[in-house]
């Protein structure tokens, strides 16, 4: 005792059985479900005449396909409509709790889970979606799985897993003004690479991580998968408990007291062993922009575009339409996207609105849009007047969903268009075939919107004070 990492604790408390090869049978407390990766799982249950083990341990919501405007008119694309309808029907048939499209709690599954208290510290949480890592910000062991595994969890409430290695990413110091959780995680990915965390669960710790709000912690854990790790984790503290308190599905009364007593044990012991430790100095982190087609292809704001040489860099520069050695601020942006499960929470919108307030989106920008992560975020933002700030500046204020993060709905980049995006993936074609994505923080995206190209948001913040 006394020498466990947080991951070890979560693993051990959910381990039912381990076979001779070291494969663990892990109990799963919560499964989140969306329309894209679940139809074949429900179909599998049907074909083998199986029922969910514990239907009400699941929570479903449609987010990837749904339109972010004129939602009352339904989904125009019949293929998308069928997929959402299939989810609705499957949930009904298998008694799986489902938040409908017109419900104000609807939104991106990784925003909705924590917001509704369906995500709780200490849980094992899975979803057929790689950004399930997000929920680790609350001290839960959360990771993405494939559709066959969705079916497996539905039928058995368990999953067969190999235990991963423990990695600690420790960030001490303090973030400068204008440097956000997004910059922090982009910096970490730049440092360890997109495969750096493969086979590991990453625990984020250190003064900087402790100082982050729970929403900001979600931004960091969200992108653990972009560093190759299936799960990211942050220890439970007072902030976590305050965040969870009073949410619709959070425990109440006696259960609450019992729960917090347990949650307070969810941290890595002082002498716990990590397989690898990465340290970063928070003071030295500056706003980040990705220049290439992998989240690890990032740079400090103001840094020159990398010099081609390696084929990989050359290919990326070519796809992105960039000349090596130049300045990224010389390139005009076509679209601005503030949204996605990485950066669509209320704080993201608040900080972006602060930058936008009193300014106009540059004429050269074709569309700048804000897509709140959930109906609740949207309502909250509207009650604070953020929608007006954005719209007065020329932003479009949309309905919640994944939207242009992956462009499965109508929101997308056309070939060759350049976008400042607060999402998590800049892969070729991710936001539309031929589209060019630069990943940034919400305030960097907001600053880029009003200037038409990338600028150092710290300069703007200086001017504000």
């Amino acid at each position: 005792m006394g020498t466990k990492t947080l991951y070890d604790k979560l693993w051990d408390s959910h381990l039912i059985h381990e076979d001779e090869n070291g494969n663990g049978l892990l109990y799963i407390d919560r499964q989140l479900i969306h329309e894209v990766t679940s139809p074949q799982a429900f179909e599998g249950l049907r074909l083998s005449d199986r029922k969910p083990w514990r239907a009400s341990a699941n929570l479903a919501v449609a987010d990837h396909n749904i339109p972010t405007e004129n939602r009352d008119k339904g989904i125009a694309d019949p293929v998308s409509a069928l997929q959402v309808e299939t989810l609705v029907n499957n949930c009904k048939a298998f008694h799986v709790p489902y938040i409908p499209m017109d419900d104000e709690r609807q939104g991106i599954v990784h925003v909705v889970g924590p917001e509704q208290g369906a995500t709780l510290p200490g849980m094992t949480i899975v979803c057929g979606d790689s950004h399930t890592a997000t929920h680790g910000a609350l001290g839960a062991l959360a990771f993405g799985i494939g559709t066959s595994e969705v079916e497996h969890v539905m039928a058995t409430q368990c999953l067969i897993q190999n235990k991963s290695k423990n990695m600690l990413v420790k960030v001490d110091g303090q973030l400068q003004k204008g440097v956000t959780a997004k910059d922090l995680v982009l910096c970490i990915i730049k440092k360890i690479g997109t495969a750096g965390g493969t086979g590991h669960t990453i625990e984020f710790a250190g003064e900087v991580v402790e100082s982050l709000s729970v929403e900001e912690r979600m931004t960091v854990c969200n992108m653990a998968i972009e560093a190759g790790a299936r799960a990211g984790l942050i220890a439970v503290d007072e902030k976590t408990i305050n965040y969870v308190k009073g949410r619709p599905f959070s425990p109440k009364g006696e259960l609450w007291d019992k729960a917090i007593a347990y949650w307070k044990t969810l941290f890595s012991d002082a002498d716990a062993k990590f397989d690898s430790i990465v340290s970063l100095d928070g003071n030295s982190i500056v706003p980040q922009i990705t220049w290439g087609t992998s989240p690890e292809m990032g740079m400090d704001v103001g840094e020159a575009i990398p010099i081609a040489g390696k084929e990989e860099i050359e290919n990326a520069l070519e796809y992105m339409g960039l000349t090596n050695g130049g300045s990224l601020s010389d390139y005009k942006l076509d679209k601005i996207f503030i949204g996605s499960c990485t950066n669509s929470r209320i704080e993201d919108l608040r900080t972006a609105a602060e930058i936008v307030k009193g300014h106009k989106v540059a004429d050269t920008i074709k569309i700048a849009m804000v897509v709140p992560g959930s109906g609740e975020v949207k309502n909250k933002a509207e009650s604070e007047g953020l929608d007006k700030i954005f719209m007065e500046a020329g932003f479009e204020w949309r309905e919640p969903g994944c939207s242009m993060c992956l462009a499965m709905n109508a929101d997308r980049l056309e070939s060759g268009e350049r976008c400042a995006s607060t999402s998590n993936r800049n892969f070729e074609g991710r936001q539309g075939q031929g589209g060019r994505t630069h990943l940034v923080s919400p305030i960097m995206a907001a600053a880029a919107a009003v200037n038409g190209h990338f600028v150092d948001v710290r300069e703007i913040l200086k001017a504000v004070v």
Partner: protein, 216 residues
């Protein structure tokens, strides 16, 4: 699941690291509610010169002749040789579905992304991890010899090269037996029903709040 049997086949090389699942099967095809039919859209954006749409036949679409899988010498290939971190990004199982549907049975790389790696086994695909230097050698051989073939013997964990040379590989015992016997994993887990139930009872005592029904 279909059993994995030993195969001999042509090797196709994708000489690129970090091939993500968005590239393997672009998002528009994820709207399908089926598990099959993704093969023609495997690597869609690299393979064709136009934009692919779900439900539209690929028969008359303009091919990108520079793309490896479109070259004559790799037609009918069933083994894919590639680089680090293959299958990174989105967890979509549509990626292994598309790879399998196209006709691949084996993938060889220095490393695979975790979720993708697991997804392969659920679909009768064998991902083999080899050292970087061996991968380099294999790329050389594939480039040098049109129609370069290998035989994969899962039981003995060996790759046999045409030259009569063997390369052994490691694989987790449970995963191997699932592939070889075509086991239904859910059925296997269901056999442990009682252990699961007894764990669940214990777990409920310790963390009762987890078992509150979600009432939407």
């Amino acid at each position: 699941m279909e059993k994995f049997s030993n195969i001999r086949g042509i090797v196709a090389p994708i000489d690129r690291a970090n091939v993500d699942t968005d590239a393997i099967i672009p998002k528009q095809f994820l709207k399908s509610i089926k598990r099959t039919g993704f093969g023609p859209n495997l690597f869609d954006e690299w393979r064709y010169l136009d934009i692919g749409e779900p439900g539209v036949s690929c028969d008359n679409r303009p091919l990108n002749n520079d793309f490896v899988l479109n070259q004559d010498r790799y037609q009918g290939s069933s083994i894919l040789l590639t680089r680090n971190n293959f299958g990174c990004g989105s967890s979509r199982e549509h990626a292994p579905w598309a790879i399998k549907d196209y006709g691949f049975r084996v993938l060889i790389a220095p490393s695979f992304a975790d979720i993708f790696y697991n997804n392969c086994f659920k679909n009768g695909l064998l991902p083999i991890v080899l050292e970087e230097s061996k991968i380099d050698d294999l790329f050389q051989s594939v480039h040098a010899t049109p129609g370069f073939e290998m035989a994969i013997d899962l039981n003995n964990q060996k790759i046999q090269l045409s030259a009569g040379e063997n390369i052994s590989f490691n694989i987790d015992g449970y995963k191997k037996s699932c592939l070889m016997n075509g086991l239904d994993e859910i059925g296997q887990t269901m056999e442990k029903k009682e252990i699961i139930q007894s764990f669940e009872r214990q777990h409920k005592k310790l963390s009762p709040w987890i078992f509150e029904d979600l009432v939407v």
